[in-house]
Amino acid sequence: MNRLPRGWRAAGWFGVVLGALAVLLTLPPIEVRTPVVPVVIGLFALTVGIGSLIRGERRVGGFAVAAGIGGLVLGYLATRSSVGHLEATVVWGALLAAMLRYATPLMYASLGALFSERSGVVNIGLEGMMLMGAFFSVWGADVTGTWTLGLVIGMASGALMGLVHAFFSITLRADQIVGGTAINFIGLGITSYLFVKLYGAQGTPRDLSNVPDLSFGFLGHIPLVGGFLDDVFGHLNVMIWAVIALVFVVWVVVFKTSLGLRLRSVGEHPRAADTVGINVYGVRYAAVILSGMLAAIGGAFISLAFVNSFTPNMIAGRGFIALAALIFGNWRPFGLAAACLLFGFSSALAVNLQAYSTSVSTLFTALPYVLTLVAVAGVIGRSIPPAADGKPYVKQ
């Protein structure tokens, strides 16, 4: 892609911004009421996007086309709906805080899967690993009385599931998709079983030790934007801040250290890595176990920091959204973080859309899956997995 003129890539991003602008202008606090504005800006974004697309910028151009169409449609709809409804739905501070909250469990699981898949082991068992983390962290917090030990126990349960997946897919060279499917079944079975056995009809205790929120009172005193910043960042959970830091850490580790180079070489060409003395099995085991631990923290965030209880099957497909985010983000830390934020935003918006209609809000929930399908179909660029992803390695 470096051969292409930089101009068209910049134009593509400009189109994305325009598409976003088409909606933003129609929403609070600006609230343009004439449909002409979003339609004109949206069409402009579309034109720029198509231009960038034919000049070979498939990914960015595709994003711009999608943003143009989305901006046009959503912006038009916003001008048609009443101001009261709009202001009830789009409360930016609350919406962005909710976005971070919904994106956090996805980011943990997705970052974990990044390690696993970069090392060449497909992990579709995220859902089961998240469930394990969600249950065992609650159980741990209940038994020990502190959320820190709860998290540690949750992580250990995820590591155990990772170890099982690693043993079957690396040592026994079983099909990794089959193994992941089994992990999902076993995670669901074990957590539901223990939940009924240990907590039964009463549910998990109400006085559970929860992961605390961090309060930044000073944010509210900043002039002009203080109230807004306080709404978004003022009262976030510790684990949200931790995952934001983790995205940067993972990027550094995977792309800037020799450890990361080893990880990626094992996932791209295990034979070559083996030849230069890298322990392929060791790296893969470590990556898959780490993946289980991170997925479990993601699950623990939901149970121990978000809803403060455990219910059977509470992950409800988030493991698969995390997998989708990894693919949508092209197996890169910042890419997957952006995808998680997008999916998190759509979840937050879906909740608020209930003010309009429950049914539309339900339909909105399907959006992450549709976007990922479009992404892997190659309409918006192409998502390319690591070369040896899913292939067992036979040592010679």
């Binding site: 497909v122 579709i124 099982v164 079957f168 026994l172 060279r173 079983a174 099909d175 998709i177 089959v178 193994g179 499917t181 089994a182 992990i183 999902n184 079944f185 076993i186 995670g187 669901l188 079975g189 074990i190 539901s192 079983y193 009924v196 056995k197 059977p312 099957n313 409800a316 497909g317 698969f320 997998l323 989708a324 693919i327 209609s357 429950t358 049914s359 539309v360 339900t362 339909l363 929930t365 399907a366 899956y369 549709v370 990922t372 399908l373 892997v376 179909a377 190659g378 192409r382 997995p385």
Partner: protein
Amino acid sequence: MQKAGGLVAPLLTVVLAFLISGIVILLTTGNVLDTLKTYRAIFRGSGLSWFFDVGSHSIGVPFSSAHVWFPWNTDDVASLAASNLEQTLILWVPLVLTGLAVAFAFRCGLFNIGGQGQYLAGSIAAVLIATELPRVLDLPGILLIVVTVVGAMLAGALLAGIAGFLKGTVGAHEVITTIMLNWIVIWVGSYFFGLGGPFQTKAFASVPSSEDVPDKAKLHVFWGDPALQGLHIGIFIAIPALVLYWLILNRTTLGYEVRAVGHNPDAARYGGISVGRNYFLAMAIAGTFAGLAGAIDVLGWEFRLDITLIQSSQIGFIGIAVALLGRNTAVGVGLAALLFAALDTGTSTRNLDPTIFNPELATSLSVIIQGLIILFVGADLIVLLVLRRLRRRRPRTVAA
């Protein structure tokens, strides 16, 4: 996927899974006797004990005093074993079909995780056709059933076909696309029948459910009480479907090409077979099986869809276990489906004796067993390794 081991590996796998879950029961109940009692209760709950009560259930031969033992003893409506067996067989049909949906794709080298979505697409299409079509066109019952079933099969085929098409054209991995399609169908279905959705029942505004299928579109119940979910005629589709699966794969050009692509896509392409076309066809046929399963469940016993059912159904996922354990053969799928149907029915709240083991625990236990079976089947290497070690040891002892 077709590795050595024949019948031994799957059987050992099942035994191993039941042994491990036996440990779970042992830890729960505290003694071996109760563990065995629990398994016996699950077996009785599945109704399979019915087959072993030879002589207890019989049909009198007309104009004589002779009695004939016959599985579908219509006099035997009231017995608990019969009622349990009806439940197992009702579940057996969709499991055979979703198992075939996964197995057929496997034979083409594709992992169809989308059986669940294709099954739901068939269910949703069946409900929509059976409830909406009579509003515009008054068809006789049998014709309405045929149109509904065909529509559901097309819906399943279309959904799976998308994944096959994307695999064949742009090379998008079918595991990813079918997972995404599963969730899209789940949420679109929830939108259709959820509160305020376009096809939510008009009768109760607060119930997130579809309209009921009209009586004339319901499949005839021939064994047991229709009011208590007796066995419907949908069961007579399962065996022909298994035969059809075998015929397509082993006696048609299409089946030959599908298997060739499954063995080695590059060699198949070199041999002049269109790999992309076969990916599409294999997925579409797989989706047809799963869509059929959805239609049979809707017309046979569900009669309506609600969002809880859509979001919690596992039929298509169990189909993966069925195909893996059945080693993608017709006979294997039939038997594996029976095992999982019996396990699921035997551990259900309705059928398991609560004085022996808490059915709520047992339901989760059956999920664990399914998971263990998938895990061990996926690694039939474990079993093969053990066998190989045994074989290696034997000559050594002979030499000594």
